[in-house]
């Protein structure tokens, strides 16, 4: 073919587009008819157009009535939310979809609801946190007692008031009521060990504000030491609770994973990450 336009392929690709994108349709048709390559291109783009028209068509099952309802509901909820945020942050409610009067009325209604909830809710019932602590400890010991005897487990329970519990003390057997005995061997998945740590976390987070530690230097902590997982997925766990003056990074177990939990997360957060998870 002679005198083939440089943009022939683009023109062919646009041939079936709405008319404003096509140049001289007659001239293009003539070019296609006279040139086999151009004709093949034309066929390919026609087929491509067919394929694309069938690609990802909306399923018939789409429920646009429900979509409309849900979307209108989401918009209305957003209006209320922004009116309340404006109210709580002390800004004048200037929200599309609400007049100032409507916004004020809305915030009054929510304020009434808040008051009603506060009035209905009594004080937090007294909780015996020591009893809860005992229950957790007992549950851990019971589980160990009933577990598979083929793996070793160590539980550390130092005496209250022990000045510290470095690895040295822990291994020496001199720290008060601490005992260490090879209990029945068991296999514990890592997730179960993590659950114990989480339970201990929740206990201490909730317990401390109500029963603050009387002695300024005796800070209650729990150190849960997870032994390195074996190739079979089992781990060892050491559960150590006692009042202690401080927990330093170097005092934490170096083998496996360890979690140090203090009365507040401020102190725990002060420890370097690699001390918390080694």
């Amino acid at each position: 073919m002679t005198n083939k336009p440089s943009n022939l392929e683009q023109r062919i690709s646009e041939r079936r587009d709405p008319s404003d994108t096509v140049g001289d349709a007659g001239e293009l048709a003539g070019l296609i008819a006279a040139d086999r390559d151009a004709a093949n291109l034309d066929k390919a783009y026609a087929r491509l157009g067919q394929m694309l028209n069938g690609w990802r068509r909306l399923p018939d099952s789409v429920d646009f009535r429900a979509f409309h309802t849900n979307t209108a509901g989401a918009v209305a909820a957003d209006v209320e939310y922004r009116a309340l945020v404006a109210h709580e942050t002390g800004h004048a409610p200037d929200v599309i979809g609400l007049t100032a009067e409507q916004a004020l009325q809305l915030t009054r209604e929510y304020a009434k609801t808040d008051d009603a909830i506060r009035a209905a809710a009594g004080p937090l019932p007294a909780v015996d946190w020591n009893a809860l602590k005992s229950r957790i400890s007992a549950a851990v010991r019971n589980e160990a007692a009933e577990s598979d005897p083929h793996h070793e487990r160590t539980i550390l329970l130092p005496a209250a008031g022990a000045p510290n519990h470095s690895d040295k003390n822990r291994n020496s057997g001199t720290a008060g009521r601490r005992f260490r005995r090879p209990l029945q061997r068991f296999t514990m998945p890592l997730s179960a060990a993590a659950a114990v740590a989480i339970a201990a976390t929740l206990w201490f987070q909730r317990g401390q504000p109500i029963t603050p530690t009387p002695a300024p230097l005796a800070v209650n902590r729990i150190v849960v030491q997870l032994g390195a997982p074996t190739t079979t997925g089992s781990v060892q766990i050491a559960f150590d609770e006692s009042p202690m003056t401080t927990v330093l990074a170097e005092e934490l177990p170096t083998r496996g994973a360890a979690i140090a939990i203090g009365p507040g997360f401020d102190e725990a957060a002060a420890l370097p990450d690699d001390a918390l998870w080694q």
Partner: protein, 206 residues
């Protein structure tokens, strides 16, 4: 009316109606916004669905787009162009959603090793173009090939192709949605088509 046959977003009448609905909404009549939801929901969901390949994701993205449009309604420059403006929001949110989803998948696979969650990006099978013989296996293979080829297009090309060549929006409106010139729309559509023609060559011969 089918999605493909739906006309451009803004003919003269609908543009005027859009402007009126926007004005009424800004004046506090939230029911006026319902008209705008109804008018563009099918188009919005269709475009999001073409971009995402999952109808639930598409509807979530579109709902979010409407909420954002409502919030920002006072900032719209030309209320008569509400449809294009909304489609720009839908497109941007869908592309962001797609990027986030890819990133999540990538992180997940880093954690779990190859093979896990590999189906998370799998698209729903809704191909109707079909192969010549209508064989479902071939249609599925073709659909996957199109998905893959379109997914590999640059975003602007992909959007231009979907909005103009598949959804049938006028180029002028596509240019508004993509915030580029008419010529650039044409160029992007052509480049997308050319790439697809090459990548899908084996399917185009039948």
């Amino acid at each position: 009316m089918s999605d493909a046959a739906q006309p451009g977003l803004q003919d003269a009448d609908s543009a005027a109606q859009d402007a009126e609905a926007v004005a009424r909404t800004l004046a506090g009549d939230t029911r006026a916004f319902d008209l705008l939801i109804e008018r563009y929901q099918r188009r919005a969901v269709a475009v999001a669905y073409r971009l995402l390949g999952n109808i639930n994701d598409a509807m979530d993205v579109c709902q979010d787009a409407y909420v954002r449009a409502f919030r920002s309604l006072a900032s719209i420059q030309d209320p008569q162009r509400f449809g294009s403006w909304l489609m720009r929001i839908v497109s941007n949110l869908a592309l962001n959603f797609r990027r986030d989803r890819k990133q999540t998948l990538s992180l997940s696979m880093d954690d779990d090793g190859p093979g896990l969650n590999a189906g998370s990006l799998a698209d729903e099978r809704t191909f109707e173009g079909g192969s010549a013989g209508g064989d479902s296996l071939q249609a599925g293979e073709l659909e996957q090939a199109i998905n893959k080829a379109i997914a590999q297009l640059p975003e602007k090309q992909r959007l231009a192709l979907i909005l103009f060549a598949i959804e049938g929006l006028p180029q002028k409106e596509v240019a508004e949605i993509l915030d580029c010139s008419l010529e650039l729309v044409k160029w992007n559509v052509f480049q997308a088509r050319k790439t697809l023609k090459d990548k899908l060559a084996e399917y185009l011969e039948s």
